[in-house]
Symmetry: C2
Subunit: 430 residues, 2 copies
């Protein structure tokens, strides 16, 4: 199967953030040509797509999310954080049944496609269900273990690690992680550290998301959250932290020492009033930053354009400097850094032999006109409306507002609604 | 001309923010029925639109913008505020020629339609050109005088006031204002105050946008910006302020005393690192807050969904309280408060005899599924992608991604690009 894209603006993200004119060819699941237009050359292909000057770029990498939490979208907003978590999220999650995560994740996958997201780093219970939803949809997913003291176990995770990583479709992988230091005992973390050493694998977790988390860690362990995690050997094969809003000076040193990734989640940190991280400082200190939407229970939507604007906007507010966190940095975080954080080194940029995880950005919308600077347009002005096409692993899953999935979008909505209504009914009997 | 919308969810914003099922009828430019479905009643109409459960609501009111600044979209980002203004914006504006504002505003109008914005409170040079763009497009525009010490004069404004407010199409009105206290001399403001008293009209201006503005006002006038404006009698017929980021205690009293509107512009304040206003305090003190995008030179896009999320999100960050600035407050600001701030009392809600300025929000998109709370969905998860239809004054100007304007969208883009390219060429010769 060969698809040729002609008359494209190419934002390859390979080496720089320049935009050039040219063409791109996809053969099966990878990029087989990208560069100047091959004029007067006869090229056989199954489909030729005239981009009409629109932009081809690597898909966005959503480096932290909880896909199945779509059932909690707009379910309990405008509550103080503790009430939200203990009176809404946890009681609702207690009613999830086996198989629910499959259907609920599919809504998120559809939304990722509308936002130009071609891969997600997903952290939720029952990752095998999420993995199955991704496989069936053709979506690229990196599932992350979510051990806590009350759900999953290290053994469950090692088992999921083996099952998912040995699957042959090449779309879904699995990595080890844990929910957070405040939901997981030291004993479990020691066990996890052993597993990580034995599998030589990086570890990711929610890290320094709130002031309370840092305060409690200092009180209990006399260590910041990253220092505590480091002390258990959990960073010995790298990894990183989600959120990283309240980082102390020594935490920056720990992240540099272990080459860890920060995954920032600005919508969630904004909506839950967690705070504003020091993104410009991370850039200055060469700590790689990736971006995540967090789950739809926190920020409600899974919209990478909103996240990108917030990464730079909040960075500017925090430093009181309109030149902080430049658009060129943000677009790198949204694509290359996300891919590297997730272990998707073969889907980071548009280059020959890379996986064909490609989106087309529609410039023929008023929010992109007139054209002065395309990267700035995408970061500061972009919207889901500008996602004209989303291709993953060489397959077009979304184009011109239509989905090409294994089920109809109506069916996906209906199943998710049924599950959500059932959970709300069950909660009334609690 | 009669259009009937059936199978709708109605978010009328009339008295409350509840959503009910029903139908709505538009006759010529106004709403002639809204309420429960009229079953078994034969109703003659020119077009019947099946909403399929999608939401009808009042269009968003963009209560502060500079429409014609589309030529500066993504033109000079990531610069410190002073460089941005003095090295990019002002030098570029110096090359605007008569008629440019007409074409440049049309791009903004198209973008408003994609964002569900049905009226804008526009502040820019040559308002007659912007007014003409609005009239020709069928867009509702309230133009605001922008007197400064170097451009326009009070006489120009009084003349524009008479010309525009006597036009018969009912789409465009004109109000008096000035750019800011730091660009307008005391003498001009005194002259403006006389004009406002003579016309008995409210006054709006950029107010306490930056720390520097407040500091300079205190140094120069020994008064905060609102106190200085009040001292000149400029609030005697009401009005309000744009931005209002750095308000002192006494400013809150001034706003209450004169029943002034705050128009918040969170994208712009974020991107230019101006700061975060005290929105929850304004709500608590019953100061009406409306929302504006500011111009596309500041925040790049004209996206009311981004603004709505930021109004609440920044409000939560500022107070460190996830329950601050609730979605129900934000949806009111975006519709009713904006309309009242702009003097559009007849286009604020969906009710019989109100102007038919109506949008349809598409719930059949993954970011709205499953459905738990529609107002929360719109405020926290909405996107331009959800705007299925925008009707102004009874005419559908945008529907299913298509524009119905007096010129083709391609022509609008092309003219704006030509002007932008010409200005950039001219700047190279400066």
């Amino acid at each position: 199967m060969k698809i040729r894209f002609i008359n494209a603006r190419l934002l390859t993200m390979d080496k720089n953030e320049n935009v050039t004119f040219g063409e791109l060819e996809v053969t099966d699941n990878h990029i087989s040509y990208v560069g100047e237009e091959r004029k007067n050359v006869a090229i056989k292909c199954d489909r030729e797509i005239d981009c009409q000057g629109n932009v081809l770029m690597p898909g966005f990498k959503n480096a932290h999310t909880h896909s199945a939490m779509t059932f909690l979208r707009s379910f309990a907003d405008d509550l103080p954080l503790e009430d939200w978590l203990h009176k809404a999220v946890f009681p609702a999650e207690a009613h999830l049944k086996k198989g629910d995560e499959y259907h609920l994740s599919k809504v998120a996958i559809a939304e990722y496609l509308t936002s130009g997201i071609t891969a997600a780093f997903d952290m939720y219970y029952n990752p095998l269900e999420t993995a199955r939803a991704a496989s069936d949809s053709g979506f690229r997913m990196v599932c992350l273990g979510t051990v806590t003291s009350f759900r999953e176990s290290v053994d469950d995770m090692v088992s999921a690690y083996r099952v998912i990583n040995s699957s042959k479709n090449g779309l879904v992988t699995y990595r080890l992680g844990f929910h957070s230091i405040y939901t997981t005992t030291r004993e479990i973390l020691q066990e996890l550290s052993k597993a990580a050493h034995s599998l030589k694998t990086p570890i990711f977790t929610h890290t320094s998301e709130t002031e309370v988390e840092v305060k409690n860690s200092l009180e209990k362990n006399n260590l910041t959250p990253p220092a505590y995690i480091e002390s258990l050997g959990l960073y010995d094969y790298g990894g990183g932290g989600f959120h990283c809003v309240h980082m102390q000076d020594e935490d920056f040193e720990i992240f540099k020492r272990h080459k860890l990734y920060v995954v920032t989640n600005p919508s969630s940190n904004t909506k839950l009033a967690s705070g504003i991280p020091e993104i410009q400082r991370m850039i200055d200190e060469n700590i790689p930053v990736a971006i995540g939407t967090d789950g739809p229970a926190s920020g409600n939507c899974l919209d990478f354009f909103r996240e990108m604007f917030l990464v730079t906007g909040l960075g500017k507010l925090r430093t009181k400097d309109a030149s902080a966190v430049k658009a060129t940095e943000v677009i790198k975080m949204a694509t290359v850094n996300g891919a590297l954080a997730m272990g998707l080194d073969d889907a980071d940029v548009l280059a020959v032999n890379k996986k064909a995880d490609i989106i087309m950005i529609d410039l023929q919308q008023p929010n992109m006109q007139p054209i002065n600077n395309i990267v700035d347009n995408i970061v500061y002005s972009g919207s889901k409306q500008n996602v004209k096409m989303t291709m993953i692993n060489g397959k077009i899953l979304y184009e011109d507002n239509k989905f090409f999935l294994d089920e109809s979008i109506e069916q996906i909505y209906q199943k998710a609604q049924e599950i959500t209504d059932r959970i709300k009914r069950d909660m009334r009997h609690d």
